[in-house]
Amino acid sequence: MSTLAFAARDSATMLRRNLRYTVRYPVTIIVSLAVPALLLLLFVGVFGGALGAGLGATPPGGKYIDYVVPGILLMSIGYGASSTTLAVNRDMTEGIISRFRTMAISRSSVLTGHVVAALIRTILSAVLLVGVALLMGYRSSADAGRWLAAAGLIALLTLALSWLAVAIGLAAPNAEGTSGFTLIVQLLPFVSSAFVPTGTMSGPVRWFAHNQPFTPVIDTLRGLLTGTPIGHSAMIAVAWCVGLAVLGYVWAGALFTKGATR
Protein backbone atom coordinates (compact mmCIF):
# COMPACT_ATOMS: atom_id res chain seq x y z
CA MET A 1 0.00 0.00 0.00
CA SER A 2 1.16 3.52 -0.69
CA THR A 3 1.82 6.06 2.03
CA LEU A 4 -1.40 7.83 1.17
CA ALA A 5 -3.44 4.63 1.42
CA PHE A 6 -1.89 3.91 4.83
CA ALA A 7 -2.69 7.43 5.95
CA ALA A 8 -6.29 7.02 4.81
CA ARG A 9 -6.59 3.65 6.52
CA ASP A 10 -5.13 4.94 9.81
CA SER A 11 -7.38 8.00 9.67
CA ALA A 12 -10.39 5.73 9.14
CA THR A 13 -9.34 3.67 12.18
CA MET A 14 -9.04 6.81 14.28
CA LEU A 15 -12.35 8.10 12.96
CA ARG A 16 -14.06 4.84 13.95
CA ARG A 17 -12.63 5.25 17.42
CA ASN A 18 -13.95 8.78 17.73
CA LEU A 19 -17.37 7.98 16.30
CA ARG A 20 -17.65 5.08 18.73
CA TYR A 21 -17.44 7.63 21.54
CA THR A 22 -20.28 9.61 20.01
CA VAL A 23 -22.46 6.53 19.71
CA ARG A 24 -21.58 5.25 23.16
CA TYR A 25 -21.69 8.60 24.95
CA PRO A 26 -24.31 10.53 23.01
CA VAL A 27 -24.25 13.24 25.69
CA THR A 28 -21.82 15.35 23.62
CA ILE A 29 -24.17 15.45 20.66
CA ILE A 30 -27.18 15.95 22.94
CA VAL A 31 -25.54 18.96 24.58
CA SER A 32 -24.54 20.50 21.27
CA LEU A 33 -28.13 20.03 20.15
CA ALA A 34 -30.12 20.61 23.34
CA VAL A 35 -28.43 23.79 24.53
CA PRO A 36 -28.87 25.65 21.22
CA ALA A 37 -32.44 24.29 20.96
CA LEU A 38 -33.19 25.67 24.42
CA LEU A 39 -31.64 29.01 23.46
CA LEU A 40 -33.79 28.99 20.35
CA LEU A 41 -36.87 28.50 22.53
CA LEU A 42 -35.70 31.23 24.89
CA PHE A 43 -34.92 33.80 22.21
CA VAL A 44 -37.94 33.10 20.07
CA GLY A 45 -40.45 32.43 22.82
CA VAL A 46 -39.32 34.88 25.51
CA PHE A 47 -37.31 37.70 23.92
CA GLY A 48 -38.49 37.18 20.36
CA GLY A 49 -41.49 39.47 20.54
CA ALA A 50 -39.63 42.43 21.97
CA LEU A 51 -36.46 41.90 19.94
CA GLY A 52 -38.32 41.33 16.69
CA ALA A 53 -40.36 44.48 17.19
CA GLY A 54 -37.32 46.52 18.03
CA LEU A 55 -35.27 45.17 15.15
CA GLY A 56 -37.02 46.35 12.12
CA ALA A 57 -34.29 44.41 10.41
CA THR A 58 -36.24 41.21 9.98
CA PRO A 59 -37.10 40.53 6.37
CA PRO A 60 -40.38 42.00 5.21
CA GLY A 61 -43.14 39.82 6.65
CA GLY A 62 -40.43 37.80 8.47
CA LYS A 63 -40.42 36.66 12.05
CA TYR A 64 -37.66 36.90 14.66
CA ILE A 65 -37.01 33.15 14.40
CA ASP A 66 -35.98 33.68 10.78
CA TYR A 67 -33.40 36.18 12.01
CA VAL A 68 -31.98 34.14 14.86
CA VAL A 69 -31.57 30.62 13.41
CA PRO A 70 -28.12 31.18 11.76
CA GLY A 71 -26.71 32.43 15.08
CA ILE A 72 -28.12 29.42 16.91
CA LEU A 73 -26.49 27.14 14.35
CA LEU A 74 -23.16 28.78 15.11
CA MET A 75 -23.64 28.21 18.82
CA SER A 76 -24.11 24.52 18.07
CA ILE A 77 -20.82 24.51 16.15
CA GLY A 78 -19.18 26.18 19.14
CA TYR A 79 -20.44 23.48 21.51
CA GLY A 80 -19.18 20.83 19.11
CA ALA A 81 -15.73 22.42 19.09
CA SER A 82 -15.71 22.46 22.89
CA SER A 83 -16.25 18.71 23.04
CA THR A 84 -13.54 18.19 20.41
CA THR A 85 -11.00 20.12 22.43
CA LEU A 86 -11.89 18.09 25.53
CA ALA A 87 -11.57 14.80 23.64
CA VAL A 88 -8.15 15.73 22.26
CA ASN A 89 -7.02 16.90 25.68
CA ARG A 90 -8.15 13.63 27.24
CA ASP A 91 -6.09 11.69 24.67
CA MET A 92 -3.13 13.86 25.54
CA THR A 93 -3.40 13.58 29.32
CA GLU A 94 -4.26 9.87 29.28
CA GLY A 95 -1.01 9.28 27.45
CA ILE A 96 -2.51 7.46 24.48
CA ILE A 97 -1.16 10.11 22.12
CA SER A 98 2.33 9.22 23.34
CA ARG A 99 1.57 5.62 22.44
CA PHE A 100 0.41 6.62 18.96
CA ARG A 101 3.56 8.68 18.53
CA THR A 102 5.76 5.63 19.15
CA MET A 103 3.88 3.60 16.54
CA ALA A 104 4.61 3.47 12.84
CA ILE A 105 1.30 5.04 11.89
CA SER A 106 0.44 8.03 9.78
CA ARG A 107 1.20 11.04 11.95
CA SER A 108 -1.76 13.05 10.78
CA SER A 109 -4.30 10.28 11.32
CA VAL A 110 -4.75 10.87 15.04
CA LEU A 111 -5.76 14.49 14.56
CA THR A 112 -7.59 13.93 11.28
CA GLY A 113 -9.73 11.32 13.03
CA HIS A 114 -10.79 13.89 15.63
CA VAL A 115 -11.52 16.57 13.06
CA VAL A 116 -13.54 14.37 10.72
CA ALA A 117 -15.52 12.98 13.66
CA ALA A 118 -16.23 16.54 14.78
CA LEU A 119 -17.37 17.41 11.27
CA ILE A 120 -19.81 14.50 11.17
CA ARG A 121 -21.08 15.23 14.69
CA THR A 122 -21.59 18.90 14.02
CA ILE A 123 -23.32 18.47 10.66
CA LEU A 124 -25.63 15.95 12.31
CA SER A 125 -26.56 18.30 15.13
CA ALA A 126 -26.97 21.20 12.67
CA VAL A 127 -29.43 19.13 10.62
CA LEU A 128 -31.35 18.17 13.74
CA LEU A 129 -31.35 21.79 14.89
CA VAL A 130 -32.76 22.99 11.58
CA GLY A 131 -35.46 20.35 12.02
CA VAL A 132 -36.34 21.76 15.44
CA ALA A 133 -36.37 25.30 14.01
CA LEU A 134 -38.69 24.24 11.20
CA LEU A 135 -41.05 22.73 13.77
CA MET A 136 -41.00 26.05 15.64
CA GLY A 137 -42.05 27.96 12.56
CA TYR A 138 -38.78 28.78 10.82
CA ARG A 139 -39.26 29.28 7.12
CA SER A 140 -36.48 29.62 4.59
CA SER A 141 -36.75 31.10 1.14
CA ALA A 142 -33.67 29.22 -0.02
CA ASP A 143 -33.56 26.74 -2.89
CA ALA A 144 -31.48 23.56 -2.84
CA GLY A 145 -28.37 25.34 -4.15
CA ARG A 146 -28.49 27.94 -1.39
CA TRP A 147 -29.07 25.29 1.27
CA LEU A 148 -26.03 23.47 -0.08
CA ALA A 149 -23.96 26.66 0.04
CA ALA A 150 -25.09 27.22 3.64
CA ALA A 151 -24.15 23.64 4.55
CA GLY A 152 -20.77 24.18 2.92
CA LEU A 153 -20.11 27.31 4.95
CA ILE A 154 -21.17 25.54 8.15
CA ALA A 155 -18.80 22.68 7.31
CA LEU A 156 -15.98 25.13 6.59
CA LEU A 157 -16.46 26.94 9.90
CA THR A 158 -16.65 23.58 11.72
CA LEU A 159 -13.40 22.55 10.08
CA ALA A 160 -11.73 25.78 11.15
CA LEU A 161 -12.96 25.62 14.75
CA SER A 162 -12.18 21.89 14.98
CA TRP A 163 -8.55 22.36 13.98
CA LEU A 164 -8.28 25.21 16.48
CA ALA A 165 -9.95 22.97 19.06
CA VAL A 166 -7.41 20.20 18.36
CA ALA A 167 -4.50 22.62 18.78
CA ILE A 168 -5.91 23.97 22.05
CA GLY A 169 -6.56 20.44 23.28
CA LEU A 170 -2.93 19.52 22.58
CA ALA A 171 -1.57 22.70 24.14
CA ALA A 172 -3.64 22.70 27.33
CA PRO A 173 -2.03 20.95 30.30
CA ASN A 174 -5.40 19.63 31.52
CA ALA A 175 -9.15 19.83 30.92
CA GLU A 176 -9.41 23.10 32.86
CA GLY A 177 -6.88 24.61 30.49
CA THR A 178 -9.31 24.27 27.61
CA SER A 179 -12.03 26.30 29.31
CA GLY A 180 -10.80 29.60 27.88
CA PHE A 181 -11.38 28.36 24.34
CA THR A 182 -14.75 26.91 25.33
CA LEU A 183 -15.79 30.22 26.83
CA ILE A 184 -14.71 32.19 23.77
CA VAL A 185 -16.49 30.04 21.20
CA GLN A 186 -19.63 29.95 23.32
CA LEU A 187 -19.69 33.68 24.07
CA LEU A 188 -18.63 35.05 20.66
CA PRO A 189 -22.08 34.54 19.10
CA PHE A 190 -23.63 36.84 21.73
CA VAL A 191 -21.37 39.70 20.66
CA SER A 192 -22.16 39.28 16.98
CA SER A 193 -25.07 39.76 14.66
CA ALA A 194 -26.59 36.50 15.93
CA PHE A 195 -29.36 37.97 18.06
CA VAL A 196 -29.48 41.68 17.17
CA PRO A 197 -27.89 43.62 14.31
CA THR A 198 -24.46 44.98 15.18
CA GLY A 199 -25.65 48.44 14.22
CA THR A 200 -27.76 48.63 17.38
CA MET A 201 -24.75 48.08 19.63
CA SER A 202 -22.69 50.83 21.31
CA GLY A 203 -19.23 52.11 20.24
CA PRO A 204 -16.41 49.63 20.84
CA VAL A 205 -18.77 46.66 21.19
CA ARG A 206 -20.20 47.47 17.78
CA TRP A 207 -16.71 47.64 16.30
CA PHE A 208 -15.81 44.27 17.82
CA ALA A 209 -19.08 42.61 16.84
CA HIS A 210 -18.77 43.93 13.33
CA ASN A 211 -15.22 42.72 12.87
CA GLN A 212 -15.20 39.36 14.65
CA PRO A 213 -15.34 36.19 12.53
CA PHE A 214 -18.80 34.96 13.52
CA THR A 215 -20.65 38.02 12.23
CA PRO A 216 -19.81 37.63 8.52
CA VAL A 217 -20.57 33.92 8.72
CA ILE A 218 -23.94 34.59 10.34
CA ASP A 219 -24.76 37.37 7.87
CA THR A 220 -23.87 35.10 4.96
CA LEU A 221 -25.96 32.20 6.32
CA ARG A 222 -28.88 34.53 6.93
CA GLY A 223 -28.57 35.89 3.43
CA LEU A 224 -28.43 32.43 1.91
CA LEU A 225 -31.38 31.10 3.90
CA THR A 226 -33.74 34.08 4.10
CA GLY A 227 -32.60 36.34 1.29
CA THR A 228 -31.19 39.29 3.27
CA PRO A 229 -28.35 41.16 1.54
CA ILE A 230 -24.98 39.38 1.79
CA GLY A 231 -22.57 41.91 0.25
CA HIS A 232 -18.92 41.31 1.10
CA SER A 233 -19.81 39.08 4.06
CA ALA A 234 -19.46 35.84 2.11
CA MET A 235 -15.90 36.63 1.06
CA ILE A 236 -14.91 37.80 4.54
CA ALA A 237 -16.55 34.73 6.09
CA VAL A 238 -14.68 32.31 3.83
CA ALA A 239 -11.42 34.19 4.41
CA TRP A 240 -11.85 33.97 8.20
CA CYS A 241 -12.68 30.26 8.03
CA VAL A 242 -9.76 29.40 5.77
CA GLY A 243 -7.41 31.55 7.85
CA LEU A 244 -8.49 29.99 11.15
CA ALA A 245 -8.38 26.48 9.67
CA VAL A 246 -4.84 26.96 8.39
CA LEU A 247 -3.76 28.50 11.70
CA GLY A 248 -5.29 25.63 13.69
CA TYR A 249 -3.90 23.00 11.33
CA VAL A 250 -0.35 24.33 11.38
CA TRP A 251 -0.40 24.94 15.13
CA ALA A 252 -1.82 21.48 15.88
CA GLY A 253 0.67 19.83 13.54
CA ALA A 254 3.59 21.63 15.17
CA LEU A 255 2.42 20.68 18.67
CA PHE A 256 1.92 17.06 17.66
CA THR A 257 5.32 16.74 15.97
CA LYS A 258 7.19 18.58 18.65
CA GLY A 259 5.51 16.25 21.07
CA ALA A 260 4.44 18.06 24.15
CA THR A 261 5.04 14.81 26.01
CA ARG A 262 4.22 14.86 29.62
Binding site: M1, E94, R99, T102, R262
Partner: protein, 344 residues
Protein backbone atom coordinates in the same frame (compact mmCIF):
# COMPACT_ATOMS: atom_id res chain seq x y z
CA UNK B 1 24.17 -18.49 25.42
CA UNK B 2 26.14 -15.64 26.89
CA UNK B 3 24.12 -12.50 26.23
CA UNK B 4 27.21 -10.44 25.48
CA UNK B 5 28.14 -12.45 22.39
CA UNK B 6 25.01 -11.70 20.30
CA UNK B 7 24.69 -8.47 18.32
CA UNK B 8 23.38 -5.46 20.20
CA UNK B 9 19.69 -4.56 19.85
CA UNK B 10 20.18 -1.09 21.29
CA UNK B 11 23.27 1.06 21.39
CA UNK B 12 23.78 4.62 22.48
CA UNK B 13 26.93 6.63 22.64
CA UNK B 14 27.40 10.04 24.12
CA UNK B 15 23.68 10.84 24.44
CA UNK B 16 23.16 14.32 25.73
CA UNK B 17 19.97 16.18 26.60
CA UNK B 18 19.27 19.38 28.47
CA UNK B 19 16.07 21.16 29.30
CA UNK B 20 17.00 24.80 29.50
CA UNK B 21 20.20 24.92 31.52
CA UNK B 22 19.28 21.69 33.33
CA UNK B 23 21.46 18.83 32.06
CA UNK B 24 19.33 15.70 32.13
CA UNK B 25 21.57 13.30 30.22
CA UNK B 26 25.31 13.79 30.24
CA UNK B 27 27.06 11.58 27.65
CA UNK B 28 25.21 8.32 28.24
CA UNK B 29 26.65 5.16 26.62
CA UNK B 30 24.63 1.97 26.47
CA UNK B 31 24.69 -1.39 24.73
CA UNK B 32 21.90 -3.92 25.04
CA UNK B 33 22.31 -7.41 23.59
CA UNK B 34 19.41 -8.86 21.64
CA UNK B 35 17.09 -11.12 23.60
CA UNK B 36 18.17 -9.85 27.00
CA UNK B 37 16.68 -7.69 29.72
CA UNK B 38 18.58 -4.49 30.30
CA UNK B 39 17.68 -2.40 33.29
CA UNK B 40 18.36 1.27 33.67
CA UNK B 41 18.32 1.78 37.38
CA UNK B 42 18.18 5.08 39.14
CA UNK B 43 16.26 7.35 41.45
CA UNK B 44 13.62 9.80 40.32
CA UNK B 45 15.04 12.46 38.04
CA UNK B 46 18.13 10.48 37.08
CA UNK B 47 17.14 10.71 33.40
CA UNK B 48 15.60 7.27 32.87
CA UNK B 49 12.42 8.44 31.15
CA UNK B 50 14.35 10.90 29.00
CA UNK B 51 16.56 8.04 27.78
CA UNK B 52 13.48 5.99 26.91
CA UNK B 53 11.92 8.96 25.13
CA UNK B 54 15.00 9.47 22.99
CA UNK B 55 15.40 5.78 22.08
CA UNK B 56 11.66 5.39 21.35
CA UNK B 57 11.58 8.43 18.98
CA UNK B 58 9.46 10.61 21.29
CA UNK B 59 12.27 13.09 21.77
CA UNK B 60 15.46 14.13 20.04
CA UNK B 61 18.78 14.08 21.82
CA UNK B 62 20.89 17.24 21.81
CA UNK B 63 23.90 15.15 20.89
CA UNK B 64 25.21 11.61 20.57
CA UNK B 65 24.22 8.60 18.53
CA UNK B 66 21.64 5.92 19.11
CA UNK B 67 20.61 2.77 17.22
CA UNK B 68 17.66 0.49 17.82
CA UNK B 69 17.92 -2.74 15.82
CA UNK B 70 20.44 -0.87 13.70
CA UNK B 71 18.06 2.01 12.94
CA UNK B 72 18.54 5.62 13.94
CA UNK B 73 15.68 7.02 16.06
CA UNK B 74 16.53 10.58 15.08
CA UNK B 75 16.93 10.13 11.31
CA UNK B 76 14.64 7.21 10.60
CA UNK B 77 12.01 7.25 13.35
CA UNK B 78 9.40 5.25 11.45
CA UNK B 79 11.85 2.37 10.97
CA UNK B 80 12.46 2.33 14.71
CA UNK B 81 8.74 2.60 15.48
CA UNK B 82 8.10 -0.47 13.33
CA UNK B 83 10.17 -2.69 15.63
CA UNK B 84 9.53 -1.25 19.09
CA UNK B 85 6.76 -1.22 21.65
CA UNK B 86 6.60 1.25 24.50
CA UNK B 87 4.78 0.96 27.80
CA UNK B 88 5.29 4.14 29.72
CA UNK B 89 4.81 5.24 33.28
CA UNK B 90 1.32 6.41 32.49
CA UNK B 91 -0.99 3.71 31.28
CA UNK B 92 -1.62 4.71 27.69
CA UNK B 93 -4.96 3.02 27.29
CA UNK B 94 -8.19 4.51 26.04
CA UNK B 95 -10.37 4.57 29.13
CA UNK B 96 -13.58 5.04 27.18
CA UNK B 97 -13.07 1.88 25.12
CA UNK B 98 -13.24 -1.67 26.45
CA UNK B 99 -10.12 -3.77 26.86
CA UNK B 100 -10.98 -5.72 23.73
CA UNK B 101 -11.60 -2.54 21.70
CA UNK B 102 -8.29 -1.11 22.86
CA UNK B 103 -6.49 -4.21 21.55
CA UNK B 104 -8.44 -4.19 18.30
CA UNK B 105 -7.57 -0.53 17.83
CA UNK B 106 -3.91 -1.51 18.03
CA UNK B 107 -4.49 -4.40 15.61
CA UNK B 108 -6.13 -2.00 13.13
CA UNK B 109 -3.25 0.44 13.46
CA UNK B 110 -0.81 -2.39 12.77
CA UNK B 111 -2.88 -3.16 9.67
CA UNK B 112 -3.69 -6.70 10.74
CA UNK B 113 -6.59 -8.25 8.84
CA UNK B 114 -9.86 -8.07 10.79
CA UNK B 115 -10.14 -11.73 11.75
CA UNK B 116 -6.45 -11.88 12.64
CA UNK B 117 -6.86 -8.77 14.83
CA UNK B 118 -9.82 -10.27 16.66
CA UNK B 119 -7.94 -13.51 17.22
CA UNK B 120 -4.86 -11.67 18.51
CA UNK B 121 -6.96 -9.54 20.86
CA UNK B 122 -8.71 -12.59 22.32
CA UNK B 123 -5.40 -14.38 22.72
CA UNK B 124 -3.77 -11.47 24.56
CA UNK B 125 -6.82 -10.96 26.79
CA UNK B 126 -6.53 -14.57 27.89
CA UNK B 127 -2.78 -14.44 28.33
CA UNK B 128 -2.94 -11.29 30.46
CA UNK B 129 -5.85 -12.51 32.59
CA UNK B 130 -8.17 -9.85 31.25
CA UNK B 131 -10.72 -12.15 29.59
CA UNK B 132 -13.34 -11.58 32.29
CA UNK B 133 -13.07 -7.81 31.97
CA UNK B 134 -12.61 -7.81 28.19
CA UNK B 135 -15.87 -6.03 27.48
CA UNK B 136 -15.75 -3.58 30.35
CA UNK B 137 -14.47 -0.05 29.82
CA UNK B 138 -10.77 0.29 30.63
CA UNK B 139 -11.58 3.25 32.89
CA UNK B 140 -13.12 0.78 35.35
CA UNK B 141 -9.95 -1.35 35.53
CA UNK B 142 -7.69 -1.51 38.57
CA UNK B 143 -4.14 -0.15 38.32
CA UNK B 144 -2.68 -3.60 37.74
CA UNK B 145 -5.24 -4.43 35.05
CA UNK B 146 -4.55 -1.15 33.24
CA UNK B 147 -0.83 -1.88 33.20
CA UNK B 148 -1.47 -5.38 31.88
CA UNK B 149 -3.78 -4.01 29.18
CA UNK B 150 -1.18 -1.37 28.37
CA UNK B 151 1.51 -4.02 27.92
CA UNK B 152 -0.86 -6.26 25.95
CA UNK B 153 -1.52 -3.33 23.59
CA UNK B 154 2.22 -2.91 23.16
CA UNK B 155 2.51 -6.58 22.18
CA UNK B 156 -0.17 -6.55 19.46
CA UNK B 157 2.42 -5.51 16.89
CA UNK B 158 4.93 -8.22 17.95
CA UNK B 159 7.69 -5.72 18.71
CA UNK B 160 11.25 -7.02 18.84
CA UNK B 161 12.31 -4.41 21.37
CA UNK B 162 10.08 -3.37 24.25
CA UNK B 163 10.66 -0.32 26.41
CA UNK B 164 9.13 -0.64 29.84
CA UNK B 165 9.34 2.64 31.70
CA UNK B 166 8.81 1.91 35.38
CA UNK B 167 6.25 -0.79 34.66
CA UNK B 168 5.49 -1.61 38.27
CA UNK B 169 5.65 1.82 39.89
CA UNK B 170 2.55 2.22 42.02
CA UNK B 171 1.42 -1.38 41.72
CA UNK B 172 0.62 -3.62 44.67
CA UNK B 173 3.06 -6.51 45.36
CA UNK B 174 0.86 -9.14 43.72
CA UNK B 175 0.47 -7.13 40.50
CA UNK B 176 4.23 -6.56 40.51
CA UNK B 177 4.85 -10.30 40.62
CA UNK B 178 2.44 -10.81 37.72
CA UNK B 179 4.25 -8.14 35.69
CA UNK B 180 7.57 -9.79 36.43
CA UNK B 181 6.28 -13.16 35.21
CA UNK B 182 5.04 -11.52 32.02
CA UNK B 183 8.41 -9.86 31.44
CA UNK B 184 10.19 -13.19 31.91
CA UNK B 185 7.90 -14.93 29.45
CA UNK B 186 8.59 -12.19 26.88
CA UNK B 187 12.31 -12.73 27.13
CA UNK B 188 11.64 -16.41 26.57
CA UNK B 189 10.29 -15.48 23.14
CA UNK B 190 13.47 -13.65 22.19
CA UNK B 191 12.24 -10.12 22.77
CA UNK B 192 14.75 -7.52 23.96
CA UNK B 193 13.58 -5.57 26.97
CA UNK B 194 14.76 -2.15 28.06
CA UNK B 195 13.44 -1.70 31.56
CA UNK B 196 13.73 1.36 33.72
CA UNK B 197 13.09 1.07 37.38
CA UNK B 198 13.79 2.75 40.66
CA UNK B 199 13.33 -0.55 42.46
CA UNK B 200 16.59 -2.34 43.09
CA UNK B 201 14.94 -5.70 43.70
CA UNK B 202 13.17 -5.43 40.34
CA UNK B 203 16.41 -4.91 38.43
CA UNK B 204 18.03 -7.69 40.43
CA UNK B 205 15.09 -10.00 39.71
CA UNK B 206 14.73 -9.39 35.97
CA UNK B 207 17.81 -7.90 34.40
CA UNK B 208 20.68 -9.62 32.63
CA UNK B 209 22.60 -6.38 32.77
CA UNK B 210 22.10 -3.25 34.80
CA UNK B 211 23.27 0.29 34.24
CA UNK B 212 23.07 2.59 37.21
CA UNK B 213 22.06 6.08 36.17
CA UNK B 214 22.61 8.96 38.50
CA UNK B 215 22.00 12.61 37.64
CA UNK B 216 22.26 11.92 33.93
CA UNK B 217 25.43 9.86 34.10
CA UNK B 218 25.97 6.11 33.98
CA UNK B 219 27.93 5.42 37.13
CA UNK B 220 28.22 1.64 36.74
CA UNK B 221 27.22 -1.20 34.45
CA UNK B 222 27.38 -4.94 34.80
CA UNK B 223 25.41 -8.01 35.70
CA UNK B 224 23.61 -7.86 39.04
CA UNK B 225 26.26 -10.20 40.45
CA UNK B 226 29.13 -8.08 39.10
CA UNK B 227 27.68 -4.95 40.61
CA UNK B 228 27.24 -6.64 43.95
CA UNK B 229 30.80 -7.88 43.84
CA UNK B 230 32.06 -4.33 43.50
CA UNK B 231 30.67 -3.53 46.87
CA UNK B 232 32.01 -4.48 50.27
CA UNK B 233 29.55 -5.91 52.74
CA UNK B 234 29.32 -9.58 51.73
CA UNK B 235 29.72 -12.08 54.52
CA UNK B 236 29.02 -15.64 55.59
CA UNK B 237 26.91 -16.12 58.67
CA UNK B 238 27.55 -19.17 60.80
CA UNK B 239 25.05 -20.34 63.36
CA UNK B 240 26.21 -22.39 66.36
CA UNK B 241 24.41 -24.71 68.74
CA UNK B 242 26.23 -23.46 71.84
CA UNK B 243 28.48 -20.75 73.11
CA UNK B 244 31.57 -23.00 73.14
CA UNK B 245 31.45 -23.52 69.36
CA UNK B 246 30.84 -19.84 68.81
CA UNK B 247 33.75 -18.79 70.97
CA UNK B 248 36.11 -21.33 69.37
CA UNK B 249 35.17 -20.20 65.87
CA UNK B 250 35.54 -16.57 66.81
CA UNK B 251 39.06 -17.27 67.97
CA UNK B 252 39.86 -19.23 64.79
CA UNK B 253 38.56 -16.83 62.17
CA UNK B 254 40.12 -13.40 61.70
CA UNK B 255 37.78 -10.47 61.51
CA UNK B 256 34.72 -12.46 62.48
CA UNK B 257 32.16 -10.59 64.48
CA UNK B 258 29.34 -11.86 66.66
CA UNK B 259 25.87 -11.34 65.26
CA UNK B 260 22.47 -11.93 66.81
CA UNK B 261 22.21 -14.86 69.22
CA UNK B 262 24.71 -17.62 68.61
CA UNK B 263 25.79 -16.41 65.17
CA UNK B 264 29.07 -15.27 63.78
CA UNK B 265 29.54 -13.03 60.72
CA UNK B 266 32.63 -13.86 58.70
CA UNK B 267 33.45 -11.09 56.23
CA UNK B 268 34.75 -11.72 52.74
CA UNK B 269 34.09 -13.44 49.48
CA UNK B 270 31.22 -15.91 49.42
CA UNK B 271 32.40 -17.88 46.38
CA UNK B 272 32.47 -21.68 46.31
CA UNK B 273 36.22 -21.92 46.96
CA UNK B 274 36.17 -19.53 49.84
CA UNK B 275 33.22 -21.35 51.36
CA UNK B 276 34.90 -24.73 50.99
CA UNK B 277 38.07 -23.37 52.57
CA UNK B 278 36.09 -21.90 55.44
CA UNK B 279 34.26 -25.16 56.12
CA UNK B 280 37.50 -27.12 55.91
CA UNK B 281 39.11 -24.85 58.49
CA UNK B 282 36.18 -25.33 60.83
CA UNK B 283 36.28 -29.11 60.29
CA UNK B 284 40.03 -29.27 60.92
CA UNK B 285 39.58 -27.40 64.16
CA UNK B 286 36.75 -29.74 65.15
CA UNK B 287 34.22 -26.95 65.33
CA UNK B 288 30.71 -27.82 64.25
CA UNK B 289 28.52 -25.09 62.82
CA UNK B 290 24.81 -25.74 62.91
CA UNK B 291 23.78 -23.63 59.92
CA UNK B 292 25.36 -21.41 57.32
CA UNK B 293 23.97 -18.62 55.21
CA UNK B 294 25.58 -16.46 52.58
CA UNK B 295 24.92 -12.72 52.46
CA UNK B 296 25.77 -10.91 49.27
CA UNK B 297 25.31 -7.16 49.31
CA UNK B 298 22.04 -6.08 47.72
CA UNK B 299 21.71 -3.34 45.17
CA UNK B 300 20.91 -0.82 47.85
CA UNK B 301 24.45 -1.32 49.08
CA UNK B 302 25.64 -1.00 45.49
CA UNK B 303 23.88 2.28 44.97
CA UNK B 304 25.19 3.70 48.17
CA UNK B 305 28.72 2.60 47.37
CA UNK B 306 28.59 4.03 43.84
CA UNK B 307 26.99 7.38 44.49
CA UNK B 308 27.66 7.95 48.13
CA UNK B 309 23.96 8.43 48.59
CA UNK B 310 21.12 6.05 49.35
CA UNK B 311 18.94 5.12 46.39
CA UNK B 312 15.73 6.18 48.04
CA UNK B 313 15.06 8.71 50.71
CA UNK B 314 13.26 6.21 52.91
CA UNK B 315 14.53 6.07 56.45
CA UNK B 316 17.25 8.54 55.71
CA UNK B 317 17.87 12.04 56.85
CA UNK B 318 19.41 12.80 53.50
CA UNK B 319 16.98 13.60 50.69
CA UNK B 320 19.57 14.17 48.02
CA UNK B 321 18.02 11.63 45.66
CA UNK B 322 15.53 14.09 44.29
CA UNK B 323 18.27 16.46 43.18
CA UNK B 324 18.30 16.89 39.48
CA UNK B 325 14.58 16.35 38.99
CA UNK B 326 13.43 19.17 36.76
CA UNK B 327 10.82 20.99 38.71
CA UNK B 328 10.40 18.29 41.33
CA UNK B 329 10.19 19.05 44.98
CA UNK B 330 12.14 17.06 47.49
CA UNK B 331 9.35 14.91 48.80
CA UNK B 332 10.07 12.24 51.34
CA UNK B 333 7.38 9.72 50.52
CA UNK B 334 8.46 6.12 50.55
CA UNK B 335 6.36 5.09 47.59
CA UNK B 336 7.46 8.01 45.44
CA UNK B 337 5.15 6.86 42.67
CA UNK B 338 3.52 10.20 42.15
CA UNK B 339 6.85 11.83 41.53
CA UNK B 340 7.75 11.54 37.94
CA UNK B 341 10.42 12.82 35.71
CA UNK B 342 8.59 15.67 34.19
CA UNK B 343 9.52 16.23 30.60
CA UNK B 344 7.79 19.14 29.00
Amino acid sequence: MSPTTSSPAITASGLRKSFGDKVVLDRVDLSVAEGTVFSLLGPNGAGKTTTVHILSTLMRADGGEARVMGRDPARDPDAVRAVIGVTGQFSAVDGLLTGRENLQLMADLHHLPRAEGRRRAAELLGEFELADAADKRAATYSGGMRRRLDLAMTLVGDPRVIFLDEPTTGLDPRSRRTMWQIVRSLVGRGVTIFLTTQYLDEADELADRIAVLDQGRIVATGTPAELKRRVPGGHVRLQFADDAGLTAAERLLDGAARGDGLSLNVPGDAGIHALRALLTRLDDAGIEAEALSVHTPDLDDVFFALTGRPSTDTGSTDTASTEGVPGASAQTTDTAFDQKESVR
